[in-house]
Each structure stands twice: as structure tokens, then as C-alpha cells.
């Protein structure tokens, strides 16, 4: 997305941990001049009803994402490695649960 057009307030991606024991999850974005204001805005916009115990904000421009066009090349090779799955191996019933 276009970045730093004159006087544009930077965009931040917001990640929230609903409670301890769970990981942070992406929930949207906010515009803010700096990281302090980004956290404040994220709190106001995304946690008005106790949705979070912890917030991460990351400058959107700092996120490196894979290209969906490369999906096959990146993820397809795992599909034919069936020996990575437990069901690939035959274990007699007598052995019991394994």
C-alpha cells in the first residue's frame, strides 16, 4: 500500500492476545503517528469489551508476506510427502494405540 504520502499518518497492524495461554492474533489495523499512539488507538478500537490482555502493534510496511501467486511452489511440495503423517505407517492392531 502507498506509504508516506506527505503527512500521511502511518498504518499499523494490530495483534491481540485474548488471554494468557493463547497466541496473539491479527485483528485489523489503525493509523497512528507513533507506537505509543498506535497502542492507545488499538486499545480503543479493538478492546472495548475485554477482548484482550495484551496488544502488539507492528508497522504495516515492516510486514513481509508471501505472495499468494507462489502458493504452489511454497506449499504444494508438502502435499506429496505423505510419509510425514502417522497414518502412512502400518502398525498391527495387537500393538495397541500408538
Amino acid at each position: 500500500m502507498s506509504e508516506t504520502v506527505k503527512n500521511e499518518v502511518p498504518l499499523w497492524e494490530v495483534f491481540i492476545r485474548p488471554r494468557n495461554g493463547l497466541s496473539h492474533k491479527h485483528c485489523g489495523s489503525v493509523h497512528a503517528a507513533d507506537e505509543v499512539m498506535a497502542l492507545q488507538a488499538a486499545r480503543d478500537v479493538y478492546t472495548r469489551r475485554g477482548e484482550g490482555q495484551s496488544i502488539w502493534v507492528v508497522r504495516s510496511k515492516d510486514i513481509v508476506a508471501s505472495d499468494p501467486q507462489d502458493k504452489e511452489e511454497l506449499f504444494e511440495p508438502t502435499a506429496d510427502k505423505i510419509y510425514r503423517h502417522p497414518t502412512f505407517y502400518e502398525i498391527p492392531d495387537e500393538v495397541g494405540h500408538m
Partner: protein, 335 residues
């Protein structure tokens, strides 16, 4: 809300048959489309327009209700209204954020709204004349919004669907607080009940218009349905809304201002439903085209809020830059 009656969408698109067919297959298989995925230009355009209109509606929608925050009759009502209006601001921001994933900038959307080029729901161009209007808006306007937004939770575009799930979780409070206000008035003194009735009389028809033109008159509805941006037609949702709302009005002892309203046992495949009178589409288009009672004031107020905040944005950016420079200098000194 408010995107059901999407105004002036252009779904035309110029990709090859093959590309469009492959895209349609993904949609038909209920696969979600995510921001970086390839998509037809018409799909992108329609969504930018729809999510933008929806976001603007949430933001402009803060104005009619904000009008009563300082005059709410009790502290409880004031706190609730403040929280509700704040939620609407949040809804606008979730939606702008979803639209931005499609490549449109916040600045651009804001500028279009302030220039009067972007549309928002016609309902917010009506004035809030009495306290009862705050109840009626929560009950009916948010009620209509819920009808529209629940199916949008299954919209084919991921970020929009996810924003709608957040929004829907919050809307139920809005409708219930509104209904409770109307209920209190309807059970109060004769003057209070009359105030509630008068408010319903003014809002009923504009609320039915929120669902947008009849299916037979809306040109781009079909493509939006095929792309699963929309799941129900305007008329289907309007009918659902009327059927759900009439018993609520009856409970309050209030009358919907429609002499043609009549229970029809044949409707909805024999489950029954209400027939209702003709909607004044001339009024709808007048308001959409800028001739509503409040159109000018709404845009003026939005512009003023933006202009008044200019120095804050400038100061915040200058402060951020100063801090960044200081940090860079300290780092250099340390090295």
C-alpha cells in the same frame, strides 16, 4: 448497515472468461478471498465502494445520536449512548481498515466523503428532533443494520467478513438499549407515549428505504450475489425486517404508519408475513442525491471535525519524527 442499499456500484470487469470462471469456482466452493489474492477488478471496485460506503455510514451515523449525548435524560442513558456512539466510531474504523487492504488509502476515502463524492446511508440525513428518536434509531436503524450485517459475516471477502463479525457482536446492545428507551416512553405518561409514536411515524419509512431499491430496480445486485458479496436481495431483507419488527411495535402499543400493512398467511412460502404499502422512492433518491434535510450539515460537521483535528495530527507526526531522530542519534553515539 447500510451497505445493503449499495448506491451506484459498478461491477463491470474486463478479465478473460477463463480467469473469471476460475474465480467464480473459488467463490462457489465458499473459499474466502484474501487481500493479496488475484481478483477481478470489478470485484475489487465493488468491495471498495461497498465497504467505503459502509464505513462512512458508521462515522456519519455518530452525528445524529451524538446530538443527544449532552441532553440524555439520566446518567445511565448518557453513559449507554456514549458507549453506543463510540462503538459506531469503532465500526467505521474496522471497516476503513478492511477497505484499506484492497489498496485504497484512508486519505482518499476521507477526501471523497468530505467532497460529497462518497455516499453513506440516506437514513443519517434525517434529523434527531426528540429524545424518542434516540430510542427509535437504536431499535429500528440498528435493527435494520443487524438484518443486513448478519449475512455479511459470510461475505466472500475475508477482511470484510471478519469486520462484520466484530460489528455484529456489538450491535445487539445497540438495538436493545434503543428498544428499552422506546419501551420506557411507551409505558410512560400520555405525552411520552405520544413522543414515541411521533418518532416512529417519522422514522418508519426512511428505515424501510435503508434496504435499498427494489430488486427489480437495482442493476448490480445479481453480480454481487454471484460473487457472494451479498447473500440476500434488498427485498428479501426488507421483508424479514418488517416481519420481525411488527410484533415488537405491537408489544409497545405503537402503530406503524402504514394503512396498507396487513398479515398475509400466504407470504414467505406459506409461513405468513406482512404486506406493506408502497415506498416513496422519489424521497429516497432526493435524499441520496443530497436534498435531504441534513445532508449539508452532516458533511459540514465531518469536515469541521477533520479540520479542527489538523493541528493534532501535525503535532503528533512532528513529535514522532523528533523522537525517531533522537533515537537514531543516540544509537549512532552508542556505536
Amino acid at each position: 448497515m447500510y451497505s445493503q442499499g449499495l448506491i451506484g456500484a459498478d461491477t463491470s470487469t474486463e478479465e478473460s472468461e477463463e480467469f473469471l470462471r476460475a474465480f467464480q469456482e473459488r467463490i462457489d466452493a465458499e473459499q474466502k478471498i484474501e487481500p493479496n489474492d488475484v481478483m477481478p477488478a470489478g470485484y475489487r471496485k465493488t468491495l471498495i465502494r461497498q465497504i467505503g460506503q459502509h464505513a462512512h455510514s458508521e462515522i456519519v451515523g455518530m452525528l445524529p445520536e451524538g446530538n443527544w449525548i449532552t441532553r440524555a435524560p439520566t446518567l445511565k442513558r448518557k453513559a449507554a449512548l456514549l458507549a453506543k456512539v463510540q462503538d459506531e466510531g469503532g465500526h467505521g474504523l474496522y471497516l476503513y481498515s478492511a477497505a484499506e487492504t484492497l489498496g485504497v488509502s484512508r486519505e482518499q476515502m476521507t477526501e471523497e466523503l468530505h467532497a460529497g463524492k462518497a455516499k453513506y446511508s440516506s437514513i443519517f440525513n434525517y434529523p434527531t428532533l426528540t429524545w424518542a428518536d434516540i430510542g427509535t434509531i437504536g431499535w429500528l436503524v440498528d435493527g435494520a443494520a443487524i438484518m443486513n450485517q448478519i449475512p455479511l459475516c459470510r461475505c466472500s471477502f475475508g477482511p470484510y467478513a471478519r469486520a462484520m463479525i466484530r460489528v455484529c457482536k456489538e450491535e445487539s446492545f445497540h438495538q436493545r438499549q434503543g428498544y428499552e428507551i422506546v419501551m420506557t416512553l411507551a409505558k410512560g405518561s400520555p405525552e411520552q407515549k405520544a413522543m414515541a409514536q411521533e418518532s416512529l411515524d417519522r422514522w418508519w419509512w426512511p428505515v424501510l428505504m435503508m434496504f435499498g431499491p427494489h430488486d427489480s430496480d437495482s442493476q448490480h445486485g445479481d453480480q454481487s450475489m454471484r460473487w457472494k458479496i451479498k447473500r440476500f436481495s434488498n427485498d428479501e431483507l426488507r421483508q424479514k425486517f418488517v416481519d420481525a419488527t411488527i410484533p415488537q411495535a405491537e408489544y409497545l402499543g405503537l402503530t406503524v404508519p402504514d394503512p396498507d400493512l396487513k398479515w398475509n398467511p400466504e407470504k414467505n412460502d406459506g409461513r405468513g408475513g406482512y404486506d406493506f404499502g408502497a415506498i416513496d422512492w422519489d424521497e429516497f433518491w432526493r435524499v441520496v442525491k443530497g436534498k435531504g434535510i441534513m445532508n449539508r450539515e452532516r458533511i459540514r460537521d465531518r469536515r469541521k471535525a477533520w479540520d479542527d483535528g489538523e493541528w493534532v495530527r501535525e503535532a503528533a507526526l512532528a513529535h514522532a519524527q523528533k523522537r525517531a531522530e533522537r533515537m537514531a542519534a543516540e544509537q549512532q553515539a552508542a556505536e
